[in-house]
Symmetry: C2
Subunit: 644 residues, 2 copies
């Protein structure tokens, strides 16, 4: 079986959005968040820190990566929407990276200014290779957006230098990063430059990882001073947090820090696809199953717990203490997207869509200026371990910025490059993974095909796709039939057709003529969802989903405490588009029952037969949109009353 | 209104138990746990640390308190059950305390050996006054049990010395303990010695607490070296953890470290009762409401969270992350018992009984050798923040011992002195607070009254009390009618009587003759309990209770995951005494429904209408007895299907 990458994602520059959820969010990202993030990087000292001519200012071991990710995000945006003011900022920052480069190629503002003697002595904790990876991704994007080569040349020189430091050759360090990222960045660099050595270096980092003797142990033993990361007694559990407890090809369970894990798995998929490595793809598949079949929240959030921002154990999916870092959901999209190109199965696109519309978009406020780091599925009175603080009495809300500010610019780069997730191509086929108003110009082995989507998806079930070709073109149009959809309907030029659905995609093969119209209806009734019986935290509960959208109850829409509401299976639920609510969205209404606080007075516990349940109106809003009004309690999972 | 203490608790030495839950647990405590705790104190170095002639051995700032509490516990046991082997150990340890005393009266093995220059420089963190309090309680018990005065004399000298160090007088430190305890110990010392200065010193510590300028800030500023407790930037939140953010008379909400809080409240009740201080009693009442009406688990567990082992906010009562330290439930009994003597209301005894039979007895295994520090109300797969560790994949279990070993000896001293909680007296009245097979010799203003209880309570609803008097004696017998009891029945010498129930007690006033028999029936059907609508974690759920016993579902009794079981309100539940199970207990059986794991295969989420619920047998066991078989999942709260 081949592991070769089969599909090619569309270039995001060739995909346009016409409003809709994705288009609107991308637009807010472009017009608000990107400058907002620049301003906060600037005011927090992250950009000045990069300027090595400035002395005596604070610098931090992973600030460079925040700035690099912002350059990457802003460059993507410049590629689709030229913007002189933004371009000036981007170039200014790219120049700082170039200026910070040392004669041997090294770039790292913290080590160069603060601890030049300690370069590469603490890979486990100091994020040097992680930062290098983000610089490479930024430089690739910057060159593509601006045509300027300086930053790209600088990171190539950096990568070449790294290649002289690390590897199995004599005198080299057999190290690998404590926080993965450079592995997938090197694949990008390889794709842009065609230089195979970058692919080889990526493969080295991936395959060296977790071998014995453990590099992180060896390097810690060599360091003289004690520091936070110098754990001579690091045990297997600690290596597992860094996915460094065993070789990656032997992994079956996703464990440890979630973002590191998913960046690693993404790189593994990249390498499997580039080098036709079926064994490596096998490991990717096992890890995919572990993440998505045993450890993923309904929202696509992953990494259940905050102790080490990571995975927990199978079926441990607590809602109120859910960590589900925004970056982790984004990384899951990276992984899903790579797997999808190798092996186009609906389940990869399903997860990609689930994470995008729910656990990723929840990460940023509608106004584009506030962010979630953790994305819990329930908020209640009291200590919320997800909330990165243990303040009592404070309800969880989005923050304007973070000390560890990885999530905002990760959202920035995902949203600015969103187009690539919508379509893929093969020489004689086009694939539609996501439905969104807009258009994509695709290149089918030299033949230009434009697909124009007209739809109110995800609020509406109808999608109308117009095909534009220069001349009649024979190709297969693969349309994703989402896993959540029980009934779909297809028409070409007004006439119903039958198209076999294989692995989640309906293929319509024909000689397409310019102006052909395909109408797809994806039936999206409101569904009550239950979780696997081993998920303790969702026992006896249902969640509401309609199409790809997961819903929640927010306290501001309810009289009864949302956590006390019970929803009968028999209760009729109604979906309604509310154009003035939360930027326009479909809400779900119905009637449940709930206890009445006013009846309780001075008792904490009552006999059930002495406490009444009264009918109460329920109104559910999309999870991604919660906390854009009055902060309050929230729950995705609702107690269920089974029975017709 | 008077705040004077009205009732006098029975001397525990005069109360006997004839088997039953309390008698059996007390017997295991006496025959197993006390020597077990001595052995572990010895092998962990705690006892050697007290011997100042030993040099170069490990010592710890609060080890003395563990040993003192063990002396207290063992002394209580010696008072009821002489035991030469135990007495030898107790005297050996008491002698070590006496030998450790410095010429000025100071006793503290850690500071004397390790940091003599830092005595009293860090009251917030170093537990010197806390340890002193436990020595006082131990010495009082030791003198009473053995008649030997040396230890008591030593702690009196220590207390007198403390009185010269602290206070409002010139040259004294205006300090108070970071961990309360000495306050209630000084009241005990006052009661035994009659020396009012101990009461005055206690009152000083209580009333000085939380005044501005904050002593803990001032002392931290004075220390030169930085240490864990030296937080110059301590904020109001940090003072609140130590109940030192405001004067105690202004407190209304129980906040901060739960054991510290409840030791403080107990001392406040002691002082209110001794000095007829209505204002202080008012604060106690407000704090009682805060603890028991807004922050107490159904099991009587308190202190919801582990961040600072403390209270959280109102109605925050998460089950899986419940901390509910064993010591905190014990401290709640101390507080309840003191309030009950001042103002005999059933609600105080109800809480005392609830905590005792559930959240306290859960703290020790049936074999008497393993302990819970935290007492969660649910155990599931994954990280359990209550468990004092973040090991993934490890299910929560009792431990043989702890680095911070406060709970075992606290259980030891409670169980060894259990008799005092059963009865109280007034000159012309006897009060029965707890029902348990056994007898109590009471002294009603010089008149001897013995009450003999024959009952299988808490498993059975019938209690037969025989009154023994030397001559016919007129007194009121106050019998507690528990808050959980909806219907009771009283007979004297076989004839039904009506007795008014006032504040939870039925009073039977008569000229009692020797051999009079009172039969009390406390109807105890199985009850489904619901929590206040604002308790998010119990939303849509019921718990099972029968009499004072709270039940739970343990995984080893169930096929379905206990967290997925739903219990219809209409399901018939049956109570059955099983003599061979868990030392003999009443279990509750019935039929619920649950999803079937085998049906699920490879999906984490399903549509509700595609996943079936099948009937499943439910068997609930007393919460206090959980984790005495195969460790596994557990839940007190069960998803409910409302409706007749």
């Amino acid at each position: 079986m081949t592991a070769q990458r089969r599909l090619t994602p569309a270039a995001f520059e060739d995909v346009q959005f016409d409003g809709g959820v994705l288009g609107t969010r991308r637009e807010t990202n472009r017009t608000v968040s990107l400058m907002d993030q620049y301003t906060k990087c600037k005011s927090s000292g992250r950009i000045d820190a990069l300027d090595l001519t400035k002395k005596g200012i604070p610098r931090h071991r992973f600030w460079d990566s925040d700035v690099a990710k912002w350059v990457e995000a802003a460059s993507y945006s410049l590629s689709t929407h030229p913007d002189k003011r933004l371009a000036a900022k981007v170039n200014e920052v790219a120049d700082l990276f170039v200026a910070a480069q040392q004669p041997d190629g090294y770039i790292n503002s913290y080590f160069t200014a603060e601890e030049p003697e300690n370069r590469w002595t603490n890979l486990a904790g100091m994020h040097e290779l992680y930062q290098a990876g983000h610089m490479m991704e930024a430089a690739v994007a910057h060159q593509k957006a601006t045509g300027r080569r300086e930053f790209l040349d600088a990171v190539r020189k950096f990568a070449d230098y790294i290649g002289t430091v690390f590897g199995r050759g004599k005198g080299r360090k057999r190290g690998y990063p404590g926080h993965q990222e450079i592995e997938l960045a090197l694949v990008k660099l390889y794709r842009v430059t065609g230089e195979k050595r970058y692919l080889t270096l990526s493969k080295y980092f991936v395959d060296e990882r977790g071998r014995k003797p453990f590099y992180f142990y060896e390097e810690a033993a060599k360091r003289e001073k004690e520091d936070h990361y110098n754990r001579e007694n690091m045990g297997l559990q600690d290596y597992a947090i860094l996915q460094a407890d065993r070789p990656v090809r032997e992994m079956s369970d996703a464990r440890g820090h979630a973002v590191r894990a998913l960046y690693l798995y993404s790189a593994m998929a990249d390498l499997a696809g580039e080098t036709d490595d079926a064994e490596l793809l096998g490991a990717c598949r096992r890890l995919w199953e572990s993440v998505t079949k045993r450890q993923m929240y309904l929202t696509g959030g992953v990494g259940q717990q905050r102790v080490f921002e990571g995975f927990d154990v199978d079926f441990s999916l607590a809602n109120d203490t859910a960590y589900a870092e925004t970056c982790a959901a984004i990384s899951l999209i990276f992984f899903a997207h790579r797997m999808l190109q190798i092996d186009p199965r609906g389940e990869y696109a399903d997860v990609m869509e689930r994470a995008l519309y729910n656990g990723v978009l929840s990460g940023v406020s509608l106004d584009g200026e506030k962010y979630f780091y953790a994305n819990p599925l329930a908020v209640r009175a009291g200590v919320n371990m997800a909330a990165h603080h243990a303040d009592t009495g404070k309800l969880y809300e989005r923050a304007a910025w973070f000390g560890c500010a990885c999530c905002p610019s990760n959202l920035g780069r995902l949203l600015a490059s969103l187009g690539q997730y919508v379509y893929s191509t093969e020489p004689k086929a086009a694939w539609v993974h996501l439905y969104a108003a807009g258009s994509g110009k695709l290149d089918l082995a030299g033949k230009a095909v434009t697909l124009r989507q007209k739809t109110h998806y995800p609020w509406d079930e109808k999608i109308r796709i117009t095909v534009n070709v220069d001349a009649p073109t024979n190709f297969a149009l693969h349309l994703r039939i989402p896993g959540w959809c029980r009934k779909h309907n297809l028409k070409v030029n007004g006439r119903g057709i039958q198209a076999a659905v294989t692995k989640g995609y309906a293929a319509v093969q024909r000689a397409w003529r310019d102006g052909d119209v395909l109408e797809l209806t994806l039936s999206m009734p409101i569904e009550r969802i239950v979780a696997h019986p081993q998920v303790a935290s969702d026992g006896g509960k249902v969640a509401l989903q309609r199409g790809p959208i997961v819903y929640c109850l927010e306290q501001c829409d309810h009289n009864a405490n949302v956590h006390g509401i019970l929803l009968p299976d028999s209760a009729k639920l109604t979906a309604r588009y509310e154009k003035d609510l939360l930027g326009g969205c479909v809400t779900i209404s119905g009637k449940g029952v709930a206890p009445v606080t006013a009846e309780w007075k001075q008792a904490l516990y009552h006999r059930a037969d002495e406490a009444s349940l009264k009918p109460t109106n329920i109104k559910a809003v999309p999870y991604a949109l919660w906390c854009n009004r009055t902060p309050g309690y929230m729950t995705v999972w609702i107690s269920r009353i089974p029975g017709k």
